[in-house]
């Protein structure tokens, strides 16, 4: 489904090199965890997948469903099935959450040549999925993410993900800022979305998220490169020994 080949990227503004040759292949149905110390390039990788303009790809390519992802605008990528759950979901005053959800869903449907959802169908869908994630109607009436707690913001992200039904979910430190209960709710929401047609890239510092969302493959990212790939047991090993071994290898 997704193949990243020799990806090099830098910050567009100052030229700082962040990614130095990432190779990553993710098949449908797989959950890949990407772990690594601060500054290893994890978030940059997620932003580049989603199409943020702050980064410049200097080498390499990303093939998604057979298409060159780097040629696509952020909204085209979303319509093609990429979803980034943001580490810090953004507050947008003045945009009601419901209005935003409807606009996003219909924009993607339109881009895929599907008919827009009727309002009753849309409401039904949102109500059902919101209940699963403990997202209240009161939250949905508020402007997007405005006044939401850290946990509420993450739940709202996963709600968006479940409504938009992407084929590739990229979760950027979804566990940050979550208490144990919120972590469980969010993880259950994510696990519900696991399916043979869908792949996930779960970016995290800590192993604890991976207790809930059990990965098929674990990668260690250091200094812009994947320095180790293994099974879920690799995450446990990292939790015990830290990143020191791998940071050393990459240097």
């Amino acid at each position: 489904m997704l193949e990243i080949k020799n990806l090099h990227a830098r910050i567009a503004e100052d030229g700082t090199e962040i990614l130095r040759g990432i190779d990553l292949k993710v098949n449908a149905g797989e959950v890949h965890a990407v772990m690594g110390p601060n500054g290893s390039g994890k978030s940059t990788l997620s932003y580049i997948l989603a199409g943020k303009e702050d980064y410049e790809v200097t080498e390499g390519e990303i093939i998604f469903h057979g298409e060159n992802l780097l040629d696509m605008e952020p909204d085209e990528r979303a319509a093609a099935g990429v979803f980034l759950a943001f580490q810090y979901p953004i507050e947008i005053p003045g945009v009601a959450t419901m209005e935003f959800l409807k606009t996003a869903m219909n924009a993607q449907r339109k881009a895929r040549g599907q008919a827009e959802l009727t309002i009753p169908d849309f409401m039904k869908l949102v109500r059902a999925k919101a209940a699963d994630l403990n997202v209240t109607m009161d939250m949905l009436k508020r402007p997007l993410n405005v006044g939401f707690s850290g946990g509420e913001k993450k739940r709202a992200e996963i709600l968006q993900m479940s409504l938009l039904e992407p084929s590739l979910c990229v979760l950027d430190e979804t566990d940050s800022g979550l208490d144990i209960d919120a972590l469980r709710i969010v993880s259950e929401g994510v696990n519900k979305l696991r399916s043979p047609e869908r792949a996930m890239i779960v970016i995290t510092h800590y192993q604890r998220l991976l207790d809930h969302i059990v990965p098929d493959v674990v990668h260690v990212l250091s200094k812009g490169k994947i320095v180790k790939t293994g099974g879920k047991e690799l995450a446990l090993e990292l939790e015990k020994n830290g990143y020191a071994d791998y940071v050393g290898e990459a240097a």
Binding site: K52, E53, D75, A78, L84, T103, A104, A111, Q160, L164
Partner: protein, 438 residues
């Protein structure tokens, strides 16, 4: 010896002087009114149109903008005015009464005079008032407006308008649209007195139909909000227009009263919406909002003075401006607090979003406080569209143009929503979308 050096008239100024001489005999009013007109015309003749060296017009140089003085629009028939109105979309299907000013004068045929009378609202011709004993009182201007050039132009040339009187305690069931209709090209100058008597509630929708061509539109809305009364006024100027659009609010707010106003400007080449608001009674509230959009090389100006002349009043001023291309926006807001006006609470905010690299915003919030026990604040922000917000929306599949529309709408909606007038919220949102799509 002290006579000012005569100025060199621009073509427009010379044209205005000639226009006054030509129309003076036909303009309405008592002898006292005519004297006021003469004095105003003399002011224009002596000092010219307001320009950048007049502090209040520093960023809004009417003298430079007005190339010529178009003739005053000739009187229009009801049939002509009706045909313009038929093609005019203001508030869609909103259930409302209508009062029509056509080419500067009141048109009773097209106005819901009888229905309004049944609700306790009398509507009379401003010119009848001007001809009456107290005619000159209708042209009174507050001291804080000084020698304002826009008001002088209005006083000199005012063609007519209406006096709307809402009787004590009336709660008018529907909003009233006061529409200025332009039939054919030409300058339109009208003045309207709106009196909301004790305890009455009134919602006014001010709209502008038709195309005045190069002629200026100069309309004064003069509000008397009596003790315990509530007035909400929405001024909607949308659509491209070549001539200057000059609007003035004069408001006096009694005790325990509520005054709300929103001025919406989108499209004219040159627009100034100026407001002079004073509290005359205690425990009252004024909420003044502005929603402004300009593009190309257009200019839009929102200027106001809120005079806290008495204690225990609250005022809120919240203005939003969106500028594209090389448009210029102006916000000049001043809160005056008189020495004895203790417990005044004034909060002023102006925010601008610049979409075009060549766009310019002049934000000038001011506080003049002479009392010592007050809460007053002001703020101004100016910025580009937030790239992170835009990316977030696009990452959810919303195409760039639509994402920008959403964000501009969100930015402006803050003022529209705080204004909180259900009858206009949707329509104003639609106007923002229309402006963005144009």
């Amino acid at each position: 010896m002290n006579a000012p050096t005569p100025i060199n008239h621009t073509q427009a100024e010379a044209g205005l002087v000639a226009r006054f001489d030509a129309v003076r005999p036909s303009l309405a009013g008592s002898i006292a009114v005519t004297a006021l007109r003469d004095a105003a015309a003399e002011q224009i003749k002596a000092t010219g149109l307001p320009h950048r060296r007049v502090e209040e017009y520093k960023y809004t140089d009417l003298r430079a903008f007005m190339k010529s003085a178009a003739p005053l629009a000739a009187p229009a028939t009801s049939a002509e005015a009706k045909s313009v109105l038929d093609g005019f979309e203001s508030y869609g299907a909103l259930d409302r009464y209508r009062i029509v000013i056509a080419n500067g004068t009141f048109n009773a045929d097209l106005s819901d005079v009888d229905a309004l009378a049944a609700e306790g609202v009398t509507v009379t011709d401003f010119n009848d008032g001007l001809a009456g004993e107290n005619g000159s009182e209708l042209l009174a201007t507050p001291k804080m407006a000084g020698q304002d050039g826009t008001l002088a132009l209005n006083t000199a040339f005012v063609q007519g308008g209406v006096v709307i009187s809402v009787k004590d305690g009336a709660d008018v069931s529907k909003p009233v649209e006061l529409v200025q209709v332009a039939v054919g090209e030409g300058a339109q100058v009208s003045r309207n007195r709106i009196v909301v008597a004790k305890g009455a509630t009134f919602k006014l929708l001010e709209t502008f139909a038709g195309d005045t061509g190069a002629g200026e539109t100069n309309v004064v809305f003069d509000y008397d909000v009596a003790d315990g009364a509530k007035l909400a006024a929405t001024r909607l100027m949308a659509g491209k227009a070549e001539g200057a659009k000059l609007f003035t609010t004069l408001a006096r707010i009694g005790a325990d009263a509520e005054f709300k106003a929103l001025g919406f400007l989108a499209g004219p080449a040159f627009a100034r919406n100026q407001q002079f608001i004073s509290f005359t009674g205690e425990n009252s509230e004024a909420k003044i909002y502005g929603v402004t959009m300009a593009r190309d090389r257009d200019l839009a100006d929102q200027t106001l003075i809120v005079d806290h002349a008495v204690p225990h009043c609250n005022s809120r001023e919240f203005f939003k401006t969106v500028l594209d291309d090389e448009a210029r926006g102006v916000y000049q807001g001043r809160i005056n607090v008189a020495p004895h006006a203790q417990k005044t609470d004034g909060e002023m905010m102006t925010q601008a979003l610049l979409l075009g690299e060549g766009a310019e915003m002049a934000n000038k919030p001011e506080l003049e406080i002479f009392a010592d026990d007050v809460l007053c604040a002001h703020g101004a922000t100016c910025g580009e569209m937030d790239a992170d917000l835009l990316f977030y929306l696009r990452a959810r599949g919303i195409p760039e143009a639509e994402a920008r529309t959403l964000l501009v709408l969100a930015f402006l909606s803050e003022a529209i929503e705080e204004f909180d007038e259900d009858t206009v919220t949707e329509e104003l949102g639609a106007r923002v979308r229309a402006w963005l799509a144009a």
